[in-house]
Amino acid sequence: MAKLPEAEKLCEQLAAELRPHITPKTAMIGLYTGGAWLAERLHKLLGLKTPLGLMDIAFYRDDYSARGLKHDPKRTKIPFDVNGAELLLVDDVLYSGRTVRAAMNELFDYGRPESIALVVLADRGGRQLPICAQYCGARVEVPAGQRLRLKREADGRLALALEPVRAA
Amino acid sequence: MRLAIKNARIIDPASGRDSAGDLYIDGGKISEEFSRPERVIDAKGLVAAPGFIDLSARLREPGFEYKATLESELEAAAAGGVTSLACPPDTDPPLDEPGLVDMLRRRASAQARARVYPVGALTTKLEGERLTEMAQLADAGCVAFSQANAPLANTQVLWRALQYAATFRLPVWLRPEDAWLAKDGVAHDGELATRLGLPGIPAFAETIALATILELVRATGARVHVCRLSTAGAVEMLRAAKREGLPVTCDVAIHHLHLCDMDLGYFDSNCRLEPPLRSQRDRDALARGLEEGTIDCVCSDHTPVEDDGKHLPFAEAEPGATGLELLLPLTLKWAEARKLPLSKALARITSDAARILGVPAGRLAIGAPADIALFDPRATLRVSPENLKSQGKHTPFAGYELAGRVRYTLVGGSVVYEG
């Protein structure tokens, strides 16, 4: 089985790709939890002026009827005006695209951005909606029955890992 | 019919008999042995006991036929092995006139099952103000006089009623409860009622009323039977009163012998009863009191309530539970828990109850009326609506598996139930 790419290296790679496109109107929002860690790292690397936004999409998911509100929701904090912003939406793994759809719905309840670009560390394919990432660290093949997660070590270093999917 | 019951374990608490044997019945009475009976019942494995005597069973006629009828409830009595029962006066209209009592007795005898002994109203319409014609009512067949669950707040009327009853040596049956202290209450005033936010009836509502009753008994000499004890305090007071020699007796209902306020659970309206189910300590004192004889007997306090009356929030639900068919098994359960012999358990629903009712029943002696219950002490019954003959299906014992199944019931030598 191919080894997983190193998350730290991908971070630097993404920052290098993003840097030429940063403008004064650029603002960044990370999706809890993996996307939030990644966004914190990128926000620092890129030295963005606008403070970082963090978002929880719990109330916008499309599987509420089946799953309910199970996981512990965090509080969305967007400390800038979404109206007219050029947003970078940051998540760790892009899969079905549903998380991003929910995030966009929630964002539009905050205001009308000028543009939204999606930044992900890893794209594992398997899209169920017409969503794509403008900036992508790496394509990763995930074997059946497994899940790709971003982990943060005690010293703050990020790493990608495969986990078995728990039976529902 | 000339009938023989063979191979039974015959238990007759009145005489102390507990031995294997046969019973012969002729002309509606227990007789000496004879040959060639017209019918033989093989009672192998069964206990033959005097038919049970229930001091409180509401038959709901006249007036409450939508809850139950004489027919359905006397069928239930037969299925429960009950051959004599006293019914409280709180019918509609209440049993305060000889004509009503007479009609009830006629209709009950036409059913040809258990013997029904009406308890007359102590005051007209049970309103607690004017005395009823107790002497006339007694002539019509009332065995005692009571207020059922209606309050008698006026102590002067209570005093006069006891004096009047004493004049004719008529027994008065009273459930001790101070109407003011019990006002608006629906559950025992204690921790459980506090948790559930239910208005409470304190234990002293019973003991204060009982103290009043006992003082009036001292003053008037009236014979009083205290109904449906629910507190440890009342048991204590009755113990002292009997020691003193006062002419008082008392009973407890099957529910209070086994259950306490905790059994209300999540507002189970099947536990909505009068008096309320009280604390564990009270329950234990009642179980002990019945064992030592301070409490003379146990009754079912059978009160059929229809679904509409129970499918309501607790405080709005109608109090009462079905019980005729549970009198035997719950009495056996009480005795087993206390490791008492079967004959002692049966005494509490036969000879002891008969003594209070004042009728020649509750014994298996030659010449006595052939009122007999044949039951299997080991066979069990699951308490459920389908298994109850009574029209009242609500009981806090729903779902319980109880031992003690009646197989045959005879009243005056006729088989009124075979199961």
Binding site: F59, G68, D109 | E191, L196, P313
Partner: protein, 315 residues
């Protein structure tokens, strides 16, 4: 022992009937979820689509404008459809039975019933008879429970005091008749508040109240000493008629909260009241409007808490 009817057999919250019997994790889950909803109530688009397409029926058998309005706002912020039914209940009139009313509404495809009733236990009766996809939220039943109020009180306390582990909380007034008090007591003991006190005259304290895990004080000054949180309960006029109290004046003198009595509590103590307040009976205006009072924030938090409750039971 019967299973707690609020939880389904997976231990998930199906109905909210009372705080008593709720596992600690669920109480915390509700408070944490409410925290997220506070954010929603503060932004411009105050809606999330969680309950879109679902119907919330407010079944109020006891009149109430405040509570009903907050439930309505909460449900609308979750994008639910809200129907209000005010059914004045007279025990004398033979109207439709409680269960028949619910059955009829069920036929109109209700998802959540928010119920307020004068009889303790009514929501439990309803919960026993609703369909599996229907949920009951108790908005107050008799003297028994007012769980959303208890939860918003806990939320408020957590907001200002962060931890429950070191708190002394005093609840003052008519505990006997108060469902708010009972719910808050259960919530505080579940979350580990070490000392919960009830303060009031003997006529207004229920039998065996210590068994709920509280310390009883008859003297308000004694009871307020070093408290972190003071919760004042409303005193209703009927109490004077029922031979429970002689007058509002005497009550205020001994059990009303004034700035002078409040000084006995900790300097950073907060004052709460479930509302509506009787100024001059249980609480002095200077305290109600003063720096220790968090009475108005309680109302705001009430919406977020009710949003959390409805989202969790309907999920």
């Amino acid at each position: 022992m019967q299973r707690n009817p609020q939880l389904n057999d997976k231990g998930e919250l199906q109905h909210l009937l009372s705080i008593e019997g709720l596992p600690r994790e669920i109480v915390v889950q509700i408070l944490d979820t409410a925290e997220s909803f506070v954010g929603v109530t503060e932004r411009e688009v105050k809606k999330v689509p969680l309950l879109r397409g679902k119907s919330v029926f407010n079944l109020f058998f006891e009149p109430s404008t405040r509570t009903r309005t907050t439930f309505e706002i909460a449900a609308k912020r979750l994008s639910a459809d809200v129907i209000n039914l005010n059914i004045a209940l007279s025990s004398q009139t033979k109207g439709e039975s409680l269960l028949d009313t619910v059955a009829n509404l069920s036929a109109m495809h209700a998802d959540i019933f928010v119920v307020r009733h004068a009889s303790s236990g009514a929501p439990f009766l309803i919960a026993r008879h609703v369909k599996p996809h229907e949920h009951v939220v108790n908005a107050g039943d008799g003297r028994h429970s007012h769980p959303t109020q208890g939860l918003l009180d806990l939320f408020t306390i957590r907001h200002y005091k962060k931890e429950f582990s070191g708190l002394t909380v005093a609840i003052v007034g008519d505990v006997l008749h108060s469902r708010v008090a009972r719910s808050l007591i259960h919530g505080l003991t579940t979350l580990g508040a070490p000392e919960v006190r009830v303060i009031g005259p003997q006529t207004l304290l229920p039998a065996g109240v210590e068994a709920l895990g509280v310390k009883v004080f008859r003297d308000m000054r004694e009871g307020l000493r070093d408290c972190d949180v003071v919760v004042m309960l409303r005193l209703q006029n009927e109490r004077m008629k029922g031979a429970l109290l002689p007058s509002a004046q005497e009550y205020f003198k001994h059990y009303g909260l004034t700035s002078e009595k409040l000084e006995l509590a900790k300097p950073d103590a907060i004052v709460m009241h479930p509302g509506p307040m009787n100024r001059g009976v249980e609480i002095d205006s200077s305290v109600a409007d003063g720096p220790h009072s968090v009475i108005l924030p309680q109302v705001t938090f009430g919406i977020a808490v009710r949003m959390a409750v409805m989202s969790i039971v309907a999920g």
